[in-house]
C-alpha cells in the first residue's frame, strides 16, 4: 500500500488561501469518505486553522487525486494553490504527520491543541488498516513528546503564562476561585485560559457594572462594582486585573486586611494592565505573589527559548517513531512472501503426514504431528526474522525475490 499526503499550511499559504480550503469536521468526514470510495482505498482529511492536509492510501500513489481535491476546495484561488502546495509520500509523509501531531510543525512549537485535532480527523476519516496504524502511531508520538519532553509545558503567551503560574502555585485549578478586575478583552482572555484549566471565574468587578455583567454572564460569574471586592479578596485564589484605571485599584493595605481572614492560603495576583492596577508592594506580603505584564513577558520569552531546546529532543523522538513506522510499512511487502513460505511448509508437512497416516496409531500420529509442527516452526523462525529485518533495509525486495525463487513460491501460487 502507498501513502500520499498533499496539503497547504501556514508555512507557505497565506490566510486567504488557507481559509478557502479549510473544512469543519463534518466536511472532513464527507470528503474523506468520498475520496476513499473514489480511490478504493483509505483517506483522512486534517483541517485546522493552520493547515489542510489529505492523507490517502491505495495500491499506487494518489498524487493527482489529492491535488485535484484540494484544487476543488480552493475554487477560484486554485492557481495560488500550486505555489503553496506540498506533496509527500510514504516515509516522508509519515514523518510529517508525526511532527504535526507532536506540535513541531505548529506556529508555536509544542502547542497542545493539534493533538486533539489530529485525533478528531482520524476518527472522522475513512481509515483502513494502514491509516489506522499511521494515525495511532502519530497520536502515540504526540503523547510521548508531551510526556517525555517539556516542550508543551512552557506557555507561549501572556495569558497562558498567567494560567501556568497559577498552576505552579495551586496545582490543579479545579475549584479555585478567580476574581477578575476589569471586563475588557485582556481580562476575558486570561479568564478563559484559567477556566480551560479548571478554575472557577467567581466574580467580575468593573467600574461600569453593566459591562461587568456582560462578561460575568459569559463566564458564569457574579458581577460586582470595583469598590465591592474586599470580601471576595478573602475568598479568591487568583486575582486578574486589567482595568483602564489610571490609579492603583488595589492597595497593599486592602490586600493585607484580607490576608487575615485567608488563614495563610496563598494569593496569586496578575496585573495585566498598563498603567498598573495593583500596588507593587503587595508582593512583599506573606503568601502573596504579584506579577505584572513585564514579569509575565519575561517568563514567556524565557520559556519560548526553552521550547526551542526541547524541540531538538522532540525531533529525535519523532524520527525514531518514523523509523518504526517505516519498518512496519516495509514489512507489509514481505508479509505475503512469508505467508507463502509458511503455507508451502505446512502443505508439505500435511502431505507427508497423510502418507504415513494409515500405518500409525492415534497416539503416534498426534506425537508425530506435534514433532513435525515444531520442526517446521523452528526451521522457519530465523528466515522469517531475517526476512523482516531485510524488509526494513533497501534490499528487502531482493531478499523476497530470492526466497520466492529458491522455494518456487510463484509456481506454487500458480498451481494453487
Amino acid at each position: 500500500m502507498k501513502l500520499t499526503l498533499a496539503g497547504v499550511s501556514h508555512h507557505r499559504a497565506p490566510i486567504e488561501l488557507r481559509e478557502r480550503v479549510a473544512l469543519d469536521l463534518e466536511a472532513c468526514r464527507t470528503l474523506a469518505e468520498r475520496l476513499a470510495q473514489q480511490l478504493d482505498g483509505e483517506a483522512v482529511v486534517l483541517s485546522t486553522c493552520n493547515r489542510t492536509e489529505l492523507y490517502l492510501v491505495r495500491e499506487e500513489h494518489a498524487d493527482d487525486e489529492a491535488v485535484a481535491a484540494l484544487a476543488q476546495l480552493a475554487g477560484e484561488r486554485a492557481d495560488d494553490l500550486a505555489a503553496a502546495l506540498y506533496r509527500l509520500r510514504d516515509e516522508a509523509a509519515a514523518l510529517h504527520l508525526f511532527r504535526v501531531a507532536a506540535g513541531l510543525d505548529s506556529l508555536v512549537p509544542g502547542e497542545g491543541e493539534i493533538l486533539g485535532q489530529v485525533r478528531a480527523a482520524f476518527e472522522a476519516g475513512a481509515a483502513g488498516p494502514f491509516l489506522d496504524r499511521l494515525f495511532r502511531q502519530a497520536l502515540h508520538t504526540g503523547k510521548r513528546v508531551r510526556m517525555e519532553t517539556a516542550i508543551g509545558e512552557s506557555p507561549a503567551s501572556v495569558p497562558s503564562a498567567a494560567a501556568a503560574l497559577a498552576q505552579q502555585v495551586f496545582g490543579d485549578l479545579t475549584g479555585h476561585r478567580v476574581l477578575l478586575l476589569g471586563a475588557g478583552k485582556i481580562s476575558e482572555s486570561a479568564a478563559r485560559n484559567l477556566r480551560s484549566r479548571g478554575a472557577e471565574i467567581a466574580v467580575v468587578a468593573n467600574r461600569t457594572l453593566a459591562h461587568g455583567e456582560d462578561l460575568a454572564r459569559k463566564l458564569g460569574a457574579q458581577a460586582l462594582a470595583l469598590d465591592g471586592v474586599a470580601t471576595e479578596l478573602e475568598r479568591a485564589d487568583v486575582v486578574v486585573s486589567a482595568t483602564s484605571a489610571s490609579e492603583v485599584v488595589l492597595s497593599r493595605e486592602s490586600v493585607a486586611a484580607a490576608l487575615r481572614a485567608r488563614k495563610g492560603r496563598p494569593l496569586l495576583l496578575l496585573d495585566l494592565a498598563v498603567p498598573r492596577d495593583l500596588d507593587p508592594a503587595i508582593n512583599d506580603l506573606d503568601g502573596c505573589f504579584l506579577y505584572d505584564v513585564d514579569d509575565l513577558e519575561a517568563v514567556v520569552t524565557e520559556t519560548l527559548s526553552g521550547r526551542r531546546g526541547e524541540a531538538a529532543r522532540a525531533e529525535q523522538l519523532v524520527a525514531g517513531e518514523a523509523d518504526r513506522f517505516r519498518e512496519w510499512q516495509a514489512s507489509l511487502d514481505i508479509v505475503p512472501t512469508i505467508a507463502s513460505l509458511r503455507a508451502l511448509a505446512e502443505e508439505i508437512r500435511d502431505r507427508e503426514l497423510l502418507k504415513a497416516g494409515g500405518r500409525l496409531s492415534e497416539r503416534e500420529r498426534k506425537h508425530i504431528e506435534s514433532v513435525t509442527s515444531q520442526i517446521v516452526a523452528k526451521l522457519l523462525h530465523l528466515p522469517t526474522i531475517r526476512l523482516k529485518e531485510a524488509a526494513a533495509a533497501a534490499d528487502g525486495v531482493v531478499y523476497a525475490d530470492v526466497v520466492k525463487h529458491l522455494f518456487g513460491l510463484e509456481e506454487e501460487e500458480r498451481r494453487r
Partner: protein
C-alpha cells in the same frame, strides 16, 4: 559473619553509588528538565532495590532484629525515607524533591556504613517488641524528614516566585500548595507513627530507663502537634515551612546527640 551478612555488606557500595548518582543527577535536572531527571529517578529506584536486598540479607543472617544499633537504625531509616520519597519522586513534577532528599540519604547511609550499620552485629539481637518500636519510630522520623524536604523545596520555590525569576516555569517543581499540604500530611502521619512507637516502647519500659533521648522524643511529638494546630490557625506557607525545618533540626541534630549522650 555468615554468607548473607557478607553479601549484604557487599551491596552497600552499589547502593551508595546509586544514591550518589541520583543526588548529582537531580542537581543536573535543575539546569534543564529531561535526561538528568530520569537518570536520577532510576538511580533512586535501583539504589532502593539494592538497599532492600541489603536489608533482606541482614535480616536473613540475623536471628533477631539486626538494626538495633544507632548505625543499623540509620540504615533502616534511610531505606524508609527513600521509600517514602519514591511514592512521589517517580512523577516528573515531584522529581526535584529528590534534590532535598537524596544528598541527605546518601550521606546518612555512608554514616551508617562507617558505623557498621550495614553489617551483621550479633551482639545486638533483640525481640519483636523492640523491632516494632524501632520500625515505628524510624518510619515516623522518615516521614518528618520527608516533610522537611518538602518544606525546603517550598521555601526555594516560593523565593523564586517572589523574585519573579524568568525561568520559574522551566524547572518542574511541585505546586506550592501541594508541597504545603503534603508536608502537613507527612507530619500528621508521622505523629501517629511516633505515638504508636512510644506506646509500644512503653511496654518494655522499666523504672530508670528514662533518658534525655526519650525526653527529646516527647518534645518532638509535642512540637509537631503544636505545628499542626498552628497550621490549622493559618500558619501555612513560608511560616509553616520554616517551622517544619526547625522541627527537623530537633530530629536530625538534638535527638542523635542526646541518644549518644544517654
Amino acid at each position: 559473619m555468615r554468607d548473607g551478612g557478607l553479601m549484604a555488606e557487599f551491596l552497600v557500595v552499589p547502593v551508595l553509588l546509586a544514591y550518589g548518582e541520583a543526588a548529582v543527577a537531580y542537581a543536573g535536572e535543575l539546569r534543564g528538565p529531561g535526561l538528568a531527571g530520569r537518570l536520577a529517578t532510576w538511580g533512586v529506584r535501583l539504589g532502593w532495590l539494592a538497599q532492600t536486598a541489603l536489608l533482606a540479607g541482614q535480616a536473613a543472617s540475623a536471628e533477631g532484629f539486626p538494626w538495633g544499633t544507632w548505625a543499623g537504625s540509620l540504615n533502616l531509616f534511610v531505606w524508609l525515607v527513600v521509600g517514602a520519597y519514591l511514592i512521589w519522586g517517580c512523577t516528573p513534577r515531584y522529581r526535584l524533591l529528590g534534590l532535598a532528599v537524596m544528598p541527605i540519604a546518601a550521606a546518612l547511609l555512608a554514616l551508617a556504613w562507617a558505623g557498621g550499620g550495614t553489617a551483621l552485629d550479633e551482639s545486638e539481637r533483640s525481640g519483636a517488641v523492640l523491632a516494632i518500636h524501632v520500625a515505628l519510630m524510624l518510619a515516623a522520623f522518615a516521614g518528618l524528614t520527608l516533610a522537611a524536604g518538602m518544606a525546603a523545596l517550598y521555601i526555594w520555590q516560593e523565593r523564586r516566585l517572589k523574585r519573579h525569576e524568568r525561568a520559574v516555569l522551566r524547572v518542574r517543581v511541585p505546586p506550592l500548595d501541594a508541597l504545603d499540604r503534603l508536608a502537613a500530611r507527612s507530619v500528621l502521619g508521622s505523629i501517629v507513627l511516633l505515638t504508636l512507637g512510644i506506646g509500644v516502647g512503653a511496654a518494655r519500659f522499666q523504672r530508670g530507663d528514662f533518658d534525655a533521648a526519650m525526653a527529646v522524643t516527647f518534645v518532638i511529638l509535642a512540637y509537631y502537634t503544636v505545628f499542626l494546630v498552628l497550621r490549622h490557625e493559618g500558619w501555612r506557607g513560608r511560616r509553616g515551612a520554616l517551622l517544619s525545618l526547625a522541627g527537623f533540626a530537633l530530629v536530625a541534630i538534638v535527638l542523635p546527640l542526646t541518644h549518644f549522650a544517654s
